[in-house]
Symmetry: C2
Subunit: 341 residues, 2 copies
DNA sequence: AACTTTTGTCGAAACGCTTCGACTAAGCGT
DNA sequence: ACGCTTAGTCGAAGCGTTTCGACAAAAGTT
């Protein structure tokens, strides 16, 4: 464990000079810089993170707050994490995973006050989230992945649900579909004001109107069974249905299974588009799901970028960045069958 | 930001006394302890993590090393992470995610030398893994999630593949199946000596012999298409086949699709068991997959426990803990159809 | 009663770095 | 030739803890 003093001795300079070489805070002549660098290399010197953190009062670590429900992370959440981690690493920061639920405020307060973390990334943000108020009170820099109800004064990065729904509907319309169903999250999430559910609901209505087509929204559970029930309901109330947009991956698979059992061919009889879905899951289905691929890693990376920017002393005003999902056409969408009228 | 000095002043004691109250390193009278605690509460005092780390030369952070392939984490890996995170938190430790591939040794060397981390958890361990040698050389405490070829002197926690394969085969046998196929990972992984593939191959042979039944192993790609090809091959070479054991989830779904298209009913004509599969994925399939559910979170937690034990000053001798997957019967296994001989 | 322990507390020295003020030697405009 | 800025370096004072040695007072031991 070589220390900075060792390096300084070996290079024949003072410790502060070594520090300046490392941090670039003050100009150093090319000659001594090289001597110092050489000394470091010879000694396998690595700065002590704790000492550096103490003296500079910043740790170069950001915390990623996410409630770890025992159920594990989905592909999209995982992508947030990996995207954020990589972006942080690229900027010389580390990423610490903090399993902090929306409820245990004490835990978070401790984390924020310990000065272990320079800033926070919040995942699974609720429409009104106590973590937000707390961090704001503690004056800790943070960025949301998702959106709260009122986001003035906050920085957030989220999936652009409005755009995504619009694109999905446009894809179906371009294939000639004129009656489509949107299978959303459950009634309960809708009632609780869950952001993605509410936003997509609104966006769906807008898209229908814009294209002058008819459609229906069916809320359902995020399970295969939920998907089955939803498609049955949708077909009952709209027999002319030829296109389906579905929010949840499990439900999407349920829908495929139900349609198949009903003797309908996908995409010949009915086209299906799955929203906010990752490629691996989409390809699990047969036929592989046409999907709006979630920009998970990009969202994580963007959030990290914004956070680091603010750490650098950036303002702190409202900031919002929305990334749309990209349409990836696979096997579940095709031209609408022309029906006799 | 109250410091320890503030607390000491307010409680009318010296800083060292406050420190002893916090760490319990030396006896403190009940009276002063209470005064100190009160002062802390009044000031909302939280010890500064960096200062503490510098002075005590330990950070209370462990690093989780995992190569972040752009493809995201599967459910099992995610469970490792969440399990480890929670176990660490429960013991007063933090978990840092470090995207370190098996190759970039410099990155790891830096991490280990910076003294930011007290110890390491390695995921995605290869049969011969350079990270292992490096950490050993640097004398950093670490625990593997997975196993290397030669594990003497190492601590590792892994899925008990032998037991799992045994249990899966036993389940099929108990249902009357007498000819079964094992769809393993690809030929390439087998050739490269990928641990799980090799171990399950061996275990499958043992299980066949023990039960006195016939079977065949078919290596294939970890994709739906791979599964389709594998089951075709298996049925061709073993027409009497009624049971299938499959290693990869995507392949499992491919197998179901292929069987369905061949006009065979699952589980009536053929039973399928998926290995090392998580519940959510198993339930995506229709019918839901009977699977050997991977003990992901438990593995992560166990690894963390062992690591922390060693940090406490535990020995450092060989340690191996194997956790089996638990059989969860769902819709893809049933009694074997009796065939005419 | 004369000791050795144990208990409870304090002061000060680390821990390994950053950063501030000060100083010297150039470089520059006039 | 004169001050004035700039480049380059040093010494020392922190940063907020832990931990060690010291010491007084209380408690056991013979």
């Amino acid at each position: 464990m070589a220390t900075m003093t060792d390096v300084a001795k070996r290079a024949g300079v003072s410790v502060s000079t070594v520090s300046y070489v490392l941090t670039g805070t003050r100009p150093i002549s090319e000659a001594t810089r090289e001597r110092v660098l050489a000394a470091m290399a010879e000694l396998d010197y690595q700065p002590n993170a704790m000492a550096r953190g103490l003296a500079s009062r910043q740790s170069n670590i950001v915390g990623l707050l996410l409630p770890l429900t025992g159920r594990g992370l989905g592909a999209t959440e995982t992508a947030f994490v990996t995207g954020a981690t990589e972006a942080a690493r690229a900027a010389g920061y580390h990423l610490m995973l903090c399993p902090v639920g929306a409820d245990d405020g004490d835990e978070l307060q401790a984390l924020a006050t310990q000065r272990l973390l320079d800033g926070f990334l919040l995942m699974e943000v609720r429409l009104t989230d106590r973590r937000v108020e707390l961090l704001r009170k503690l004056q800790a820099p943070f960025v949301l992945i998702g959106r709260t109800k009122n986001s003035t004064g906050l920085a957030c990065v989220d999936i652009d649900f409005e755009q995504t729904v619009g694109d999905a509907v446009a894809h179906l319309v371009s294939l000639g579909h004129e009656t489509i169903a949107y299978v959303n999250h459950s009634k309960a999430s809708l009632a609780s004001g869950y952001g993605p559910a509410k936003r997509t609901e609104a966006a769906f209505k807008v898209a229908l109107k814009r294209h002058g087509i008819t459609g229906v929204m069916v809320p359902t559970d995020d399970t295969a069974a939920g998907g089955r029930a939803a498609i049955r309901e949708a077909r009952e109330c709209c027999p002319a249905l030829t296109g389906v947009l579905v929010m949840n991956e499990s439900a999407a698979l349920g829908i495929l299974a139900e349609l198949r059992e009903a003797g309908l061919d996908v995409p010949w009889d009915v086209s299906v588009v799955s929203m906010v879905t990752s490629a691996p899951v989409a390809e699990l289905a047969s036929p592989p799901l046409t999907a709006m691929t979630s920009p998970g890693a990009a969202v994580g990376a963007a959030a990290t970028r914004i956070l680091l920017e603010r750490l650098g002393g950036g303002a702190g005003s409202t900031y919002e960045e929305l990334l749309p999902c990209a349409l990836e056409v696979r096997g579940t969408t095709g031209a609408a069958k022309k029906r006799k009228r």
